[in-house]
Structures are given as C-alpha cells and as structure tokens.
C-alpha cells in the first residue's frame, strides 16, 4: 500500500486493486511495474470500499466474484458515496456474460475486462481510463471556476454552501459567511474603461485568495461581488481576517489609475457552535450587513452572529 505520508513525493496515480485472489495481486504487481502507477491492495469489497473512502485512489480495478461483499455491491456503495462517486472503476471478471457486463456498466463502471486478462489490453484500458478521468476532473474543475478571477464560481458556491451548512449543523461547528462588494465599482469602469475594471476584479480576487486559508472557499458571487465560506470559523475570527483584507485592499497601487484607490465593503454573519439560521436567510442576513456597511459610508465591515449580536473590532491601541 502506498504510504500516505509519501503522497506529496509520489505524484503517480494510485490504482486500487480489489480482488480476493492473491494470484491476481501478484500478477498485476509484476505486470504493472513499468506503468507509471502506484498499486494499492484490498482483498474483498468491504476492505476496498473502506480504503477508497479514506484514501480516494485515481482508479479502481474491481473483481466481481468475491466473498464478504461482492463487486456489484461494492460498486453500488462506491457510487452512492460522494467521496468515491467519481473514481473510475474497471470491473475485472471471470463471469463475462453479457448480463454481467450490462450490470457493471449500469452500476457506473467505466470499463470491463474479462479474466483471464490479456495484460497488454488491461494496461491499455487502464491508461485509457486514467486519461478519461483526468479530463473529467479537469472539466469538473473548469465548471466550478470563474474564468476571470480563478475563484470558485456562483454555481459551486450554491452547492458548497449547503454542504458546509449541513456539516456545521451536524457537528455544531463554527461557520461564517462573508459577502464583499467593491465600492463604487461602476465609476472605475466608466472612468478608466472595462479592461481596467476587469483588472480591479481580478486584482481584488488575488488579494482575497492570498489571505484565505486552504480550507476557506473564496467565490465570485457575481459582477464585483465576492463571497467567502469560512468553515470552522467564528465571526470574531472572520472579522480579523476580513479586516486585513480590507486594509490591504485600500493600500493596493493600481497602475491604470494611480490616483484612484479601491476599497471594499463587507457583511459578515457567522456562528461559533452550530447554525441558528437556515442557509438562505443566513446569506440574506450577511447581505443586509453588507448593505449596512455601504449605507454607513463604505470601506468598512458590519459583522454579527447568526443570533443577531453585533461584533466590533477590538479597538486598536
């Protein structure tokens, strides 16, 4: 099995072989040694499923006829689990009736190889499946990313926000959302042209991205609006982060308009131990905080808890 601590060093795709026959493990280990893959092993369906949930591999080779949990059942479990759903599965089977093949494909297998396998064919199919899956991954990523800024897009935000909301509900964790809007953006476009406007949007996006942690989710919400999802973060913690973004933003030098600086206003709403608002009202609440920040003069942050308690910045000494 690959050592998880070495994952950063070894970037070869991980192929998980799930088969109860030790023969097959030894055969493939010997036969795939010149392929650019790391081979991981599981000896029955349950073990394979558990392994895949913990360390999602890039591809699974799955035997059908196994004790404990057979391949079809394993495939069903893999396809129902969000973490493993998109891992391509090649079914290996000695029972190569048409019905078996149809069942395998209908359950979500990407390919089917009959046993005893022709190894050159298996290797070619393995490479082909890895190729397809890396394209799918790229496509999936492109569909989630905003073209101008490289941040996540609105569609991704909508889906991710619900996921994070539910996680917060389950574990009674902190969760904070930040709505941001570039102040007087329209006047940048009007005075300096749309290319300058685009430069501002992507410049602010870069600034945001450079401040957030790896676990935070920064998205472009629309036009000149951004939204941050900060999992396991209280509104107090979020306020510190956002204040740094706000002050750094007003200090940015813009070559296209050196005399016109850019500021942002933000509305923050969060909780530190479990949600007390529904996901949609939560967003509306943060949005109304953003509106308040705009109303009271822009380039500022309005922050509160989901219960409505306002939170201010500690006074600078």
């Amino acid at each position: 099995m690959p050592d998880p601590s070495n994952n950063q060093l070894d970037s070869r795709p991980v192929v998980l072989l799930v088969d109860d026959s030790d023969f097959v493990h030894r055969l493939l280990k010997a036969r795939l040694k010149y392929e650019s893959v790391q081979l991981a092993s599981a000896y029955n369906g349950l073990e394979g499923f558990e392994f895949a949930k913990k360390n999602p591999p890039d591809l699974i080779l799955l035997d059908i006829d196994m004790p404990v949990m057979d391949g079809f059942e394993t495939l069903r479990c893999l396809m129902e689990e969000p973490i493993t759903r998109n891992i391509p599965v090649i079914v290996l089977s000695g029972m190569d009736t048409t019905q078996d093949k149809v069942t395998a494909f209908d359950l979500g297998a990407i390919d089917f190889v009959s046993k005893p396998f022709e190894l050159t064919e298996l290797r070619a199919r393995l490479r082909s499946s890895l190729r397809i899956s890396s394209l799918l991954k790229m496509l999936e990523q492109k569909a989630q990313v905003d073209g101008l800024t490289g941040l996540y897009n609105r569609a991704y935000f909508d889906q991710r926000w619900i996921e994070e909301y539910e996680r917060c509900l389950r574990h009674s964790n902190g969760l904070t959302i930040v709505m941001m809007d570039i102040d007087n953006f329209k006047s940048v476009n009007d005075s300096f042209g749309h290319p300058a406007g685009d430069a501002v949007i992507s410049g602010v996006a870069n600034l945001i991205q450079s401040h957030v942690r790896k676990s935070d989710i920064a998205c472009r919400y629309g036009g000149e609006e951004f939204v941050l999802i900060l999992p396991e973060t209280s509104p107090e913690q979020a306020l510190g982060l956002c204040e740094r973004i706000r002050t750094d933003c007003e200090a940015i030098h813009w070559p296209r308009h050196p005399d016109r600086n850019i500021t942002i206003s933000m509305g923050i709403t969060g909780c530190s131990d479990g949600a007390t608002l529904q996901p949609m009202p939560w967003i509306e609440h943060a949005d109304s905080n953003l509106y308040k920040a705009k109303e009271s003069g822009r380039n500022r942050i309005v922050c509160d808890q989901t219960q409505g308690k306002l939170i201010g910045l500690p006074k600078a000494g």
Binding site: D20, F23, V24, L27, A30, R31, P67, G94, P116, L119
Partner: protein, 111 residues
C-alpha cells in the same frame, strides 16, 4: 536453473519478466496441489469451486494456460452440481485432469 519448454507455457520463456512470473507460480504449485487434494478429500466443494475459479482466472496470466483451462472445466462441472450434495466421484474426471496438468509442471521445480 531449469530449462522451460516453450510449448508448455503461454508466456515467453526467454523473457526475464515472464520467467519471474512463471517461477512465482511454480514456487507455490506444490502447496496449491496439496490444498486442492485435501479440500476435495474433505468434501468441501464450495471451497474447491473457489480455488478452481481463482486458478481459471489467474493461471493463464502466469503462463499456465492448460491449468486455467482444466480449472475452468472443473468449475463448470461444480457450477452445474449442487455443492451440498455432490460426491467426489461425480467430478473425479475433471478433478484428475486438473491435477494431471498441475503435476506435469512439477518437473521444473528444483528438488
């Protein structure tokens, strides 16, 4: 170092990697034969069925096509029988054919 008769192997007996696989299989062959025998004698036909199924799938990959073929025939025979009711005599021919194939490779093992 025994010389391998190419006619008996479906892998290339002049290729280093292929020989490695052939020897891997040969090394375990005597104990596999013992297991087949004892499982059959004990009348554990579902276990025998599994062993035959595994041999059918794996032996050709190691260069032992005839073992795979005879194992497949035994598996077919077992599949059409009721594993709870079957007697060794009913599958004797198929079982013997598999053992004969296995035994024919023992000469390649250094004694």
């Amino acid at each position: 170092m025994p010389q391998y008769d190419q006619a008996q192997f479906s892998l290339d007996v002049t290729d280093e990697d292929d020989i490695e696989l052939i020897e891997m299989f040969l090394e375990e062959l005597p104990s596999r034969i013992d297991t087949l025998r004892s499982v059959a004698e004990a009348g554990d036909f579902s276990h025998l069925n599994r062993l035959a199924h595994q041999l059918k799938g794996a032996a050709p990959g190691f260069g032992f096509d005839p073992i795979g073929t005879t194992a497949g025939i035994l598996e077919e025979r077992l599949k059409t029988s009721n594993l709870e009711m079957v007697e060794l005599e009913q599958i004797q021919d198929e079982f013997d054919a598999l053992l004969t194939e296995c035994n024919s490779y023992l000469k390649y093992i250094d004694s």
